[in-house]
Symmetry: C2
Subunit: 440 residues, 2 copies
Amino acid sequence: MELSTKPLTGMRQLYPDEMAVEAYIVGRIRDAALAYGFEEYDGPTIEPVELFLAKSGEELVSEQSYLFEDRGGRRVVLRPEMTPSLARMLASAPEVSSPVRWMSFPVCFRYERPQRGRAREFRQFNLDVLGSAGVMGDLEVMLVLDRIMKNLGAPDGAYQIGYSSRELATGVLERIGIAGQDGQKALGAIDRIGKMQPDEWTAYAEAVLGDPGRAVLLGRFASVRSLDDPWMRETASGLPGFDSMLELRRLLEAAGLRAASFDASIVRGLDYYTGTVFELSDTGGGNRRAICGGGRYDNLVGLFGGRPMAGVGFGLGILTLRLFLETYGLIPADPGAASRPDVFVAVYSSAEAATALSWAESLRSSGLRVMMEIEGRSLSRQFRAAGRCGARFVVVAGPDEVASNTASVKNMETGETTRVQAASVAEHILSVPGSRQDSR
Amino acid sequence: MELSTKPLTGMRQLYPDEMAVEAYIVGRIRDAALAYGFEEYDGPTIEPVELFLAKSGEELVSEQSYLFEDRGGRRVVLRPEMTPSLARMLASAPEVSSPVRWMSFPVCFRYERPQRGRAREFRQFNLDVLGSAGVMGDLEVMLVLDRIMKNLGAPDGAYQIGYSSRELATGVLERIGIAGQDGQKALGAIDRIGKMQPDEWTAYAEAVLGDPGRAVLLGRFASVRSLDDPWMRETASGLPGFDSMLELRRLLEAAGLRAASFDASIVRGLDYYTGTVFELSDTGGGNRRAICGGGRYDNLVGLFGGRPMAGVGFGLGILTLRLFLETYGLIPADPGAASRPDVFVAVYSSAEAATALSWAESLRSSGLRVMMEIEGRSLSRQFRAAGRCGARFVVVAGPDEVASNTASVKNMETGETTRVQAASVAEHILSVPGSRQDSR
């Protein structure tokens, strides 16, 4: 039987060209997080289902998770997101000094219909501050997010970071007569407002709240796009959630984060958020899904017993971010350039292989990256291979070269060929400025 | 209900300290592979079970795999190894120029009893040369393996790379009267020789082959440790597999790979190997499991239809390698040092937060890594936090500093504190040699 040449639908399969793009994006993200003192961790791919049942939301576990029984009879899932694992790690960490700044690049899994920007297996970036309850923590994770976009060359105005607060939303909803269970439902309705036509949403909100008047007020709240909105100032005045938003705005301005603006329609779908919530989106409309979402979850670590610990963070889909960068032409033409070989060692025939090998090994020990011919092709085909791999020098081991123990060294940029004593080839190449592809 | 604070048994959960060790090892491995012109790829975590049923061996799939049905009714497994996915990627690659040099760092899964050096979820390094059928390919992957060990500081003599050939073994077995089905069983028996007492193994081999005489000859073959062994030279003379081994030895010597030596007891457990096989092990006996195993698999890509493509490569367990490095004291004391912040920005009180924030952001935009106080702790506690995070400078934003727009900059190594104009702090810090933790 012939095996299929295709991976399963929605799986992550990256050829080197695509992997280089991912590595480029991951590298820029990591640099941004390191600029704020974050450290990297990783958690298990397979988790007990209870971990996500508690707080991730019903849909994620019962409809979208890869859920199965392992050989020991445990009901497990492939992590659909990272935050619950992170919370558990913090809850059982032997000794960490707060606040904790942690990041990770987990591969996560959700059984959804694959579409643009959405796969069943996907790499995500997660960044969290834990053990810090104030808006300074909220601010910091938003600053990292903005710096990621700047590191990737995103122009001002191409993206925005909308923020709001679940605490504020809950407080305002109570004041307009939507409390308790209805408050939870109303948050769910706000979460859908961007995905429906206005009429459709109004009917939906009326059905959810059982009351046209409250549905109108809910729509009014969700339409607020500024903390200076007069209705908002009047309705929310004195609420702690409102004061936090005002303080967050003041700090965002001090830090110069111009892409951020208040948006009451943002509540985020995960059940564990308790305070500030935010998302990053493309202003151009070319990419409709939020590139990143996050928020504050102050009650998650406490689920594991022991001391409670406040947390705030976000998850950023690498694939979604990549689509954004492609839309704006921000992926470099050759993202893998810095990983290419410096030198190609061409071998005239098998009689020269042993000598060529010792030359290649010596160059490698001098810190050069060397691709060597292993196929016995003609020299002209070897030169073409050298061109394809991007090497800046070709070292030829032919009968003359081996007999005289001097290599022919061709500079592929200038076209110049020099005969160099075998022992001095590395020195000769390293003396040419830019001879190495990266700044090792 | 309180949730468990423990991950499932055998899962990969890495706190930042442990992650830094892994990142250190992965970095050295990647450098070694880049020195030979390898490119990085990645494949799916979830694969159809058929992919491994074909050639990975019965035990791996039916006893050790995480096997389940997905929501679409497909029988899938979490990859227990990478090579079949790699073969499929090559079989369906739109256009690759041979030979292909590819590497990957997949997380793989096997449901085994966890023990020292063995987890159920583990990160592996995979490196393969495809589209090259000669011993030069075998040699190259062995050279990368050796360079990995050298990059990690492994001393000569601490490890050895044993190699043999399935082609040679099959040829010799035929000559001593063990052919066809019996030949396959005999390879299986050789694979167990190191795991049993001699008497136990002899009885086992007799039972497998149904014949004491052939069992003795099989034991004789498996005991060979040199290609110059007289029995071997006589028995294997003229076999293509023997000539390949002699050629491989010649090239290993030319390349200076002193850790490699012939060992007929090596056959490797995976069904798809067809030629050269090898493994790397600790000579000291502190780590009994092979750190790395690999070999040539010339018929794997052809399983997917289309053109056949020769392949040779290895898989290296990061955890097993880490145990080896720990045994020899080769893990640096602070493997994460290069990722630490350069500067800690201390904030006297919330009144100075906005100014401190603008200073911190400006330092970050100058390329410095800056951890900033977000908790409002006392200055003395902030200085302790700065010490813990490894920052070489503390920039203090107090009332005087903010009023005069000059920061107090303390050099943590010299203990010296200087007042610097806010706009010049980055310049001041960058002018100190070694002010940045890495060589960005």
